[in-house]
Subunit: 726 residues, 2 copies
């Protein structure tokens, strides 16, 4: 009965008397779904439930359950995604520290937990306690580096073995309606979660955001299979996946609103308002599930919580915009180099040795990264340090200012901000780290391991930003009598906030690579928790997008989808020439005419031959005459099982039987075999445009209505089809 | 030349050789625009500029200017909307206080400014200073009430005289593509701003949010007329208006992100992603322009800045959900009663005396509101007080707890939270104020004055919420040994935060009336500035929406649009029956067949008669035979000027001239008059669906593509039209 309802919804009126065929209405792998059909199937289902609910109390309760199942799925997604993100964060933290040492009292404790439970620790010595032993103290001193390195490699080999083909990028393609089976399965969920931990803790230049979105989508896919409303409708399922993507970003950054906007702006293809609200719900639940686990250790929801105490000045917009330009250039450079490298991997022998590639990159990362303190630590910690203000308690090298009372000029009454030795050392170390990060990220992203791009991009921007920030600060300090720097250095406060520059740089670089706009600023707004600094962030984000767009419109996600040849109709594409539907439809000029079915004159054998010899998704059904008037469209995937079924079960159907799509059978000669009625597989409302329709309009229709194919007519006669080819 | 480019874009290929007619391509008043046509006109314009820009440096600069004009418009909208909002806020503050007294040193000073400039004031006595004189002190004591009252009435009379027909609601209709001339003009802007100040400061139960959105849209309309890119394209203009609406909400509440989401969720019909980003820009600029003006006096961006110090407990969700139910019921009651009253106003004699009505309502408001301290003050102040926590400095009656050390039970060590006399008085005064607000708001909203609904709705919810909050607090205090209240009352903190209940109640009531969801929660999130309290807010908002939706799907805006009979295709409409295009198209069964034009056989006179006798928007052009094959569509508004023009300027065109839409003139008898070629007004790509298309699909197409009309075919032959009637 469900199947009949499902069939009847494909945009036309079918004969309910004929029973359903098995196999009708499902999609094949690597095919695109028909959004319009899925939508009207759901409308039918809903209408049925509503009308039934008036019959009895039980049916009414069932209809209520159905209406609430959407919220239930969202709740479960939020809970599961939040929990998984917490587990991943804890595991990453533990494994990252395991590279350095171990807690003797309990090996599963992190460094901090280990020392907090020890009573002998004072606040100053909180990093040193007898229970926490570095490997170098436990074993021979020299083995430290080799162990660090070994750990890298073993972790990564495990990753690679498990997930040779799990790429996060494709979530976008799936949401646009493409079917890739097994890509969001339970095994993927499990493997991706484990390998994500290994990958991130290995110290490679990658982040957890992209893979977390994938993990959340796997959760969404798994949970939606528990509810028939979602499991039986590919369109509805994609609504759940959009919400799950929002929950994924929400837990990755602790930014629920940013997550929803990210899903809206970047990931989703079809985003009805109902989904917006539900996505928000899922994102919030996920964020609040993550909080008690407290992975970021600051009882805040966000990954990098910062609080600045100095206002910013209008003149600072100039360095902020410079950072925006840097972000745009970095985005362009990264996308071009990364895509070139990935293409080389796809086309040359290199692609055959994914494990070897990962080991090589890991080895280089480990060897080059170890000596420099800014590349040795985890990227999240690095970003966190770069974002932070130099407070009184800050012991970072970056905050090593010369604080000698004898050196101050008491007349000026300005703060002590000359750079100390530590700051100078930090500057060149940061510069080296920046160059290294830029190069290694290009080679890391796209390897066969779960790799996110947000954190490395932000790290690049934060390093550049911090360096610019320190530069501006020193300039302002040493030339505080210049007009533009007047009043910048006031007693009791810093001259400028270098941490803000780091944050602006991070936003610029992230914007340059992903081309996000609103969601980027909102995520950054949620990270800082104040509107104060939104103008610098916006200035940098806008500049970065403009600069990057000047060199090429594609963001990294679109570029990879393009590279992998997935079908994706980009919303942002523009046509530079005036193109009409007639120029892009099949058959092209000079090709044989379109294969069509006639409404009542072809035999079963004719149709079977046609199906065998062509690979079109479907065939227009026409009134046979010299002007072929269109009466409907028959899908290949519905025709094949219908004929097969009839041949097996219906008596008198042979190869010579005439097939008819009309209501009444055609008048046939007396001795002809039993004709086959196929009206139920005929879509009576195929989408048509005239051959003079502008290509922009056709694309608009495809995109907004989620069409699978569109027929092209001239004065009511079939002339071609767009999207009928496989 | 511009006009030719504009014409050529209407979705078809026209003959460029024939010059343009004057008057072609503009819309009449109270007509709906054709989004698809506007869009393709803009694409053409853009393509032209791009191809020209390669010709010379000057053209390249012009193309850059064109590309940047969108951002320039947004910047200007933000600046103007922010400034106007600041001016309105300051003027309202001053006029509200002018009802009570005047500053003797400078009459344009507000009470606070007046006393701050006076040196004799201490912090405790900051409300009392010799320079500020109440009217009652200046004049006879008894005249206070009468003066207060007079001020009300004079203020309102001025409002009414100026803006008899300026209703904010219609912004939504305009954004959906309806043309109402003069509605967003410069005069409207000026009058609306002035009367908004008078209306809000009069003390009537209305808010400034709706009118501020209208004012911002007027700014947007005015500014877009400065740029030819926007002034000549009704579709592009609506993108600017969407952004302006976001800026309006942004300055009304100080919530830029909430404003953008409000515009997306509630106001806008067609919202491309580019608009999202630009709206965000406009909203931010507006918010930052408003800040230096500092109308809310707390150097924050937001209207009601609150900071709570006590966490909330899971068990509190129960009263929060109760508040949600209250909000939903209030929303339903308000919408039903208000619509019934507005319908009565429309249909009976009452509507003829708008000024009298306003005076009557003002008189009643003044008389009834004056005795109660909670209705006497401005609604914004009331909400602000209700939202606030009882801190140490709080002198409000609501915070009058008995704080007697002798009364405490030192063993329990709980805070002193028994309600004092002030709280008890406040409770019944609040109850009376609540009843009064509920009743008066129903009669106030919809009068011929600029009236916003947000603030009164929030006030109703805040009053109910605060009362529930105080109730829960007293319950928790007096029964702190019950299991559910255990640990609620801890030393050094309050038991619960009644202010949070007020905020939750406000969100619930606002949600019940407007049916906003995401934008409501985001606005509230921006008001409080913390994610902490988003779960209570969401719980209440969701409950309120569910309860209100159970009684009727229409929010107040949709209900008023419906009442006024504006055309608006609601996105949220659902069809309960399976309807096909054939059931809703014209001609209906039994009606005469559709009026069509033939491609090459009708004379000018025939067509003129057809145009005169029917009022269709346009006519399908067919190949004349028994099966009428469709070749295109001719718009009425393009046909009329084309024929008029030809008759005046083209030689040999008489009533008997044959009109043809084909490329080549038809073969005519030797002595027939000069034929008239009208191919250029023929749209060769009209939108068609088959008669078996589901109504949901047709509505989807209309909505998503912004169509004006859609032709219905059966087997390639014209059978009807949907949307062709006026």
């Amino acid at each position: 009965m469900v199947n009949a309802a499902a069939m009847s919804g494909s945009g036309n009126l079918m004969d309910f008397l004929d029973g359903p065929f098995p196999g009708v209405g499902t999609y094949e792998d690597f095919h695109t779904i028909d959004w319009l059909r899925e939508k009207s199937r759901d409308t039918d289902r809903h209408r049925k439930i509503t009308s039934k609910s008036k019959e009895s109390i039980w049916e009414f309760i069932k209809s209520l359950l159905d209406a609430w199942s959407g919220w239930a799925v969202m709740l479960l997604i939020g809970l599961l995604a939040g929990t998984l993100a917490g587990v991943v964060d804890l595991a990453v933290g533990w494994m990252t520290e395991l590279k350095e040492g171990i807690c003797l009292s309990a090996s599963w404790y992190s460094h901090e937990q280990c020392c907090w439970t020890s009573n002998e620790t004072t606040f100053e010595d909180r990093d040193k306690c007898p229970l926490w032993q570095k490997w170098s103290e436990l074993l021979v001193k020299q083995s430290e580096i080799s162990l660090f390195w070994t750990f890298h490699v073993t972790g990564i080999i495990q990753s690679v073995d498990f997930c040779v083909w799990l790429h996060s990028l494709s979530v976008k393609t799936i949401l646009s309606g493409f079917i890739i089976r097994g890509y969001l399965g339970k095994w993927t969920l499990l493997i991706k979660t484990v390998t994500l931990v290994l990958g991130v803790s290995s110290g490679l230049s990658l982040g957890k955001e992209g893979p977390l979105v994938h993990v959340a989508c796997c959760c969404g896919n798994f949970l939606s299979s528990l509810f028939s409303k979602y499991s039986k409708n590919e369109g509805k399922r994609r609504e759940v996946l959009s919400a799950a993507a929002a929950a994924g970003v929400s837990v990755a950054f602790g930014a629920p609103i940013g997550g929803v906007l990210f899903s809206l702006e970047e990931v989703s293809y079809y985003f009805p308002l109902k989904t917006l609200w539900r996505s928000f719900f899922a994102a919030l639940v996920a964020a609040f599930t993550l909080r008690p686990i407290n992975p970021f250790g600051n009882s805040r929801l966000v990954l990098f919580y910062v609080e600045y105490h100095t206002p910013w000045y209008m003149a600072e917009l100039f360095p902020f915009i410079l950072l925006g330009v840097f972000g745009g250039l970095w985005g362009t450079l990264f996308i071009r180099c990364n895509i070139a490298w990935c293409r080389r991997r796809k086309t040359t022998k290199l692609g055959r040795y994914p494990v070897l590639e990962v080991i090589a990159v890991t080895a280089i990362t480990a060897i080059v990264a170890y000596p420099n303190p800014y590349t040795r630590r985890s990227t999240s910690e690095l970003i966190s340090e770069l974002f932070n203000d130099c407070g009184a308690l800050e012991s970072s090298q970056l905050c090593d200012y010369i604080n000698d009372p004898n050196m101050t000029r008491p007349v000026d009454d300005i703060p002590h901000r000359p750079a100390g030795v530590g700051v100078c050392t930090a500057m060149w170390q940061l510069a080296l780290a920046l160059i290294f990060k830029i190069i290694i990220t290009i080679f890391t992203f796209g390897m066969k391991i779960p790799s996110g791009l947000f954190i490395p991009s932000m790290a690049v921007g934060a390093m550049a930003g911090r360096m610019v920030g320190i530069g501006v600060e020193q300039l302002a300090y040493h030339h505080h009598d210049w007009i533009i720097f007047r009043n910048w250095c006031r007693p009791g406060a810093d001259c400028v906030t270098p941490g803000l520059y780091a944050m602006v740089g991070a936003a610029a670089c992230l914007g340059g690579v992903t081309r996000m706009t609103v969601s980027l600023v909102v995520i950054m707004f949620e990270l800082t928790g104040g509107l104060e600094y939104i103008v610098p962030l916006m200035a940098a984000a806008v500049t970065s997008k403009w600069v990057a767009d000047a060199f090429g419109k594609e963001g990294i996600y679109e570029a990879h989808i393009h590279l992998n040849g997935y079908p994706f109709l980009d919303v942002k594409d523009e046509f530079t020439h005036r193109t009409l539907a007639t120029h892009v439809m099949r058959p092209r000029r000079g090709e044989p005419p379109l294969s069509v079915l006639t409404q009542d004159s072809m035999t079963v054998e004719d149709v079977e031959t046609l199906i065998k010899e062509t690979d079109y998704n479907g065939f227009p059904v026409v009134v046979p005459s010299d002007s072929e008037r269109l009466i409907g469209f028959a899908q290949r995937r519905e025709l094949i099982p219908a004929i097969k079924n009839a041949r097996q079960r219906q008596e008198g159907i042979v190869s010579d039987s005439v097939m008819y799509f009309t209501e009444e059978p055609p008048e046939l000669p007396a001795n002809s075999p039993q004709p086959l009625k196929l009206r139920r597989v005929l879509n009576l409302s195929p989408f048509t445009v005239t051959d003079h329709t502008l290509m922009e309009t056709v694309v608009d229709i495809f995109r907004k209505l989620g069409l699978r194919q569109c027929l092209v007519t001239r004065s009511g006669n079939m002339t071609g089809c767009s999207g009928c080819c496989k």
